[in-house]
């Protein structure tokens, strides 16, 4: 399968890439790792006039800790993030980065590309909610940071302005006694998950919940989150009962479509089960246990 013809550009710097995108106008698309975009182009779901290959811009490849936050360049690949020191410190990041698709896709696919495409089933947009990440968007003469939930507007729809690129993902370092887990269920590694759930929490004494973020992925056009459900758990001891209630409340807000990955009913059942597993693993990790794991596939 061939995409429709396009012109190809490979600017050497971020500045020239942004300028070029502005000059080329709405027919142009940025190309990073291509792992979402190229299949879209091959199926001719999009036929851009120009591709601006930003895939080699070294200035967008960093993964580093700056004081109390983690800064991940938009072009950091899933594979690099999965083995980074950051992923070691924040296990939920490793769950996600190491579980996306398969080794070949992780070697090329980037975090910036993944959030920009905003596929409703993709992992990063859901995961980044649990860490309250901000997305840095840069244009030819502008730079702003947007909360992930404001960045993802709808299925395949982000809030980038014309000629803006995602340049960095910023994640506040979780405080002491925090833990998180992200689990997706998929029929095979290369597929998107049929359902996923993420929980990031901070414990006070005992199992008392000091803070918590919850998300369901592949559960509707955008990740399913609820500040209200989160707040009901804060200050409470976390146990089977109130976590199940939270799961139920979130699943109530979800709208997973019936498709080749499963019926809507099946997906709701998976969301409940994945949520409970993620919550339990998050608590164990917050308690200091070292547990590895990521997506499940058969």
């Amino acid at each position: 399968m061939y995409p429709a013809p396009f012109r190809y550009h490979r600017p050497g710097t971020l500045g020239s890439a942004l300028k070029l995108l502005a000059e080329l106008g709405e027919g142009a698309r940025p190309l990073a790792g291509g792992q979402s975009l190229i299949p879209i182009l091959k199926m001719r779901m999009d036929e851009p006039s120009d591709l601006v290959d930003i895939g080699r811009l070294a200035e967008l490849m960093h993964i580093r800790q700056e004081k109390n936050r983690v800064c991940i360049g938009a072009l950091a690949t899933h594979a690099r993030i999965a083995v980074s020191a950051i992923a070691g410190e924040i296990p939920i990041i490793r769950d996600c980065a190491g579980g996306i698709a398969d080794p070949q896709v992780r070697a090329l696919g980037t975090i910036g590309g993944s959030v920009s495409i905003a596929d409703p089933s993709s992992d990063w947009p859901a995961l980044l909610h649990t860490l309250e990440a901000e997305i840095v968007c840069q244009g030819p003469s502008s730079k702003r940071a947007i909360k992930i939930n404001d960045f993802i507007k709808d299925s395949y729809t982000n809030s980038l302005a014309d000629a803006e690129l995602v340049t960095e993902i910023q994640i506040p370092m979780p405080p002491e006694n925090s833990g998180g887990a992200y689990i997706g269920f998929k029929k095979a590694a290369p597929a998107y998950p049929a359902a996923s759930a993420g929980v990031q929490l901070t414990l006070a004494d005992g199992n008392l919940c000091r803070d918590i973020r919850l998300v369901l992925g592949a559960a509707g056009p955008v990740p399913v989150t609820s500040r209200q459900v989160e707040q009901q758990l804060i200050g409470q001891p976390l146990a089977e009962k109130n976590l199940s209630q939270a799961a139920e409340a979130l699943v109530e807000l979800s709208d997973p479509p019936s498709d080749s990955r499963g019926s809507s009913e099946f997906k709701r059942a998976m969301l409940r089960s994945l949520f409970m597993r993620a919550a339990n693993r998050a608590m164990q990790r917050a308690g200091g246990e070292k547990i590895t794991g990521s997506h499940d596939y058969v």
Binding site: F6, Y8, Q104, A189
Partner: protein
């Protein structure tokens, strides 16, 4: 819009220069331009991994990569494995352990396996399954593929 651009891609140690359309996929470059047909196109949707090659040491799906993106890169395809009539240990192991039936997925399987073994010379069965998760085989049921990779790992450690 029939624009072309020059690329130089080192394939199996040999620098190859061509003028290509930007939309040419790396797998088409390898098969059509270089006539190296050991790299297969399976699903053409980034699922099956039959088109897996090594790019600068990493296993990648050559159906989901434009040749222009590989400009300047080093690519290894299945044709690089056999040397002077001697099968590479991974090829020998797939043969000895019946790690293939129809053979369509085998080039991709072997290249993903080599990427794993370069990084982890002593993989467990689980490590192998995870490393080959992006390569689909519809014949073998995978058991003998796992076995072949373990055999090759032993051979390569001994070599």
């Amino acid at each position: 819009m029939s624009n072309t651009m020059p690329v130089e891609i080192t394939v199996n140690g040999e620098a190859r220069q061509r003028e290509v359309e930007p939309r040419m996929l790396l797998v088409e470059f390898i098969r059509e331009e270089l006539r190296l047909t050991g790299t297969h196109i399976g699903c053409d949707t980034s699922f099956c991994g039959a088109c897996t090659v090594l790019m600068d040491g990493a296993a990648v799906k050559s159906c989901t990569l434009f040749a222009v993106q590989a400009d300047g890169a080093e690519i290894i395809t299945v044709e690089a494995l056999e040397r002077d009539g001697q099968l590479h240990p991974i090829q020998q192991a797939f043969s000895d352990d019946h790690g293939l039936q129809c053979g369509y997925c085998t080039p991709g399987m072997m290249l993903s396996s080599l990427a794993l073994l370069a990084e982890n010379p002593t993989p467990s069965a689980k490590d192998i399954r995870k490393a080959l998760a992006g390569n689909v085989c519809r014949c073998t049921g995978y058991q003998n593929i796992i076995k072949a990779v373990q055999t090759a790992a032993g051979q390569l450690r001994g070599a």
